[in-house]
């Protein structure tokens, strides 16, 4: 049962209005062809959970610029003037979450935890509407789990089964998101035979991956 799918087919599974987690940090580790294809298929009303929206012409920023996104949950939009404009104009909802909290909330979703207690944000605007819990004299905020319908993952290498490896800072949110979504779609730079990636090097085990996007044939 191969997981390899054509790009169009993989992205066609995603309906308008879906909640997407998209890996990447300022575009590094964001799956470029999946973004291309979301745009080509004209998806609408997406909710995007991601670290940032990069720049207006880069990565997730392109979805914002194309007005494909209804809501963003991110830690940072400062490098994307268009996201800020849409937020201030009330065109796009933006939920800002401290980066470490965002990472833990995504992880909690994927790891079956209801949430975590973090000291980050206590006494700031981030605290609004949240439960404070004091333990041994330290105050924490209860931050709840996040889940998604789809995770769009960029990997350095995948084997035929879907075991994944990432490279350097392109790893970032990808392995966390691959745990936290109903359906996991992976764009890998290389697809290699089973066994090429040794067990200790696998960061995302194959059982988490639903769909592996076939490489574009650039030659021939």
């Amino acid at each position: 049962m191969s997981k390899v799918r054509k790009l169009e087919e993989a992205v066609a599974m995603i309906p308008d209005g879906a909640v997407l987690m998209i890996g990447g940090f300022m575009g590094v580790g964001t799956p470029p062809h999946l973004i291309d294809e979301l745009l080509r298929q004209g998806k609408r009303d997406l909710t995007v959970i991601a670290n940032d929206t990069a720049r207006p012409t880069v990565g997730i920023g392109r979805l914002v610029t194309a007005k494909a996104v209804r809501k963003v949950i991110a830690s940072h939009i400062g490098t994307n003037s268009e996201t800020q404009r849409q937020m201030i104009a009330g065109e796009t909802m933006v939920d800002l979450v401290p980066q470490g909290t965002l990472a833990e909330r995504v992880r909690a979703g994927g790891f079956g935890l209801g949430g975590v207690l973090t000291p980050t944000g206590v006494g700031t605007v981030v605290e609004e509407g949240k439960q404070r819990i004091e333990l041994d004299g330290t105050v924490y905020l209860l931050e709840t789990a996040l889940k998604a319908d789809f995770a769009l993952i960029a990997a350095k290498r995948a084997d035929y089964l879907g075991n994944l490896e990432y490279a350097l800072t392109a790893r970032n949110f990808n392995p966390l998101m691959a745990m936290a979504a109903e359906t996991v779609i992976v764009e890998a730079e290389d697809i290699v035979p089973v066994g090429v990636i040794p067990p200790d090097s696998v960061v995302t085990p194959n059982v988490l991956v639903d769909c592996l996007v076939a490489k574009e044939r650039r030659h021939g």
Partner: protein, 218 residues
Amino acid sequence: MDEKTLIAKRVALELRPGNLVNLGIGLPTMVAAHLPTGVNVFFQSENGIVGMAPVPEPGAENEDLSDAGGSPIGAVPGAASFDSAMSFGLIRGGHLDVTVLGGLQIDEEGRLANWMVPGKMVPGMGGAMDLVSGAKRVIVAMQHSAKGTPKIVKRCELPLTSVRRVDLIVTELAVIEPTDKGLVLREVAPGVTVADVLAQTGAELIVPSAVPTMPVGA
């Protein structure tokens, strides 16, 4: 020496061999270039690496290796890369020795505001709230005033980054240490008087009987 270089050089003196250090975007990044001789530290970039370094030469950039601003970086031998949860585990868990961050305002309780100006600038807090809450030592590296308006104030009007008291403030005029008694003036920059500092500060400063000059070379 320009003001930013002075600040970067002074901050660099706070780093100890083997420290894990996170430098914010902008002025704090300049600290890396001014490490005292013999002080080797590890720089973390919160997008997922310990051991970041400059790209050694043009053309050696790698698409999968960037800093938290998305700019290409290099890495030292012995670097380690990891996911965002681990990166913030290092920060929140007390494993990060020093974070150096810019500031918009700091108040008499040593509380920092550096992530938004309501109605004007809504960039999001990124990693700043975790860094200020979690690092063992928080150093704010900033210019003393913004267009003539003091940035060190009685009480922050801007939304706080954290209620945690920062450990040190380094500006082009002074080194100030927030303590439980208030802000203590520890050093003045070469050629700057205590009176100069007080005139440009919007908060009460505790001034010890002797205030030495910053130990930074020309």
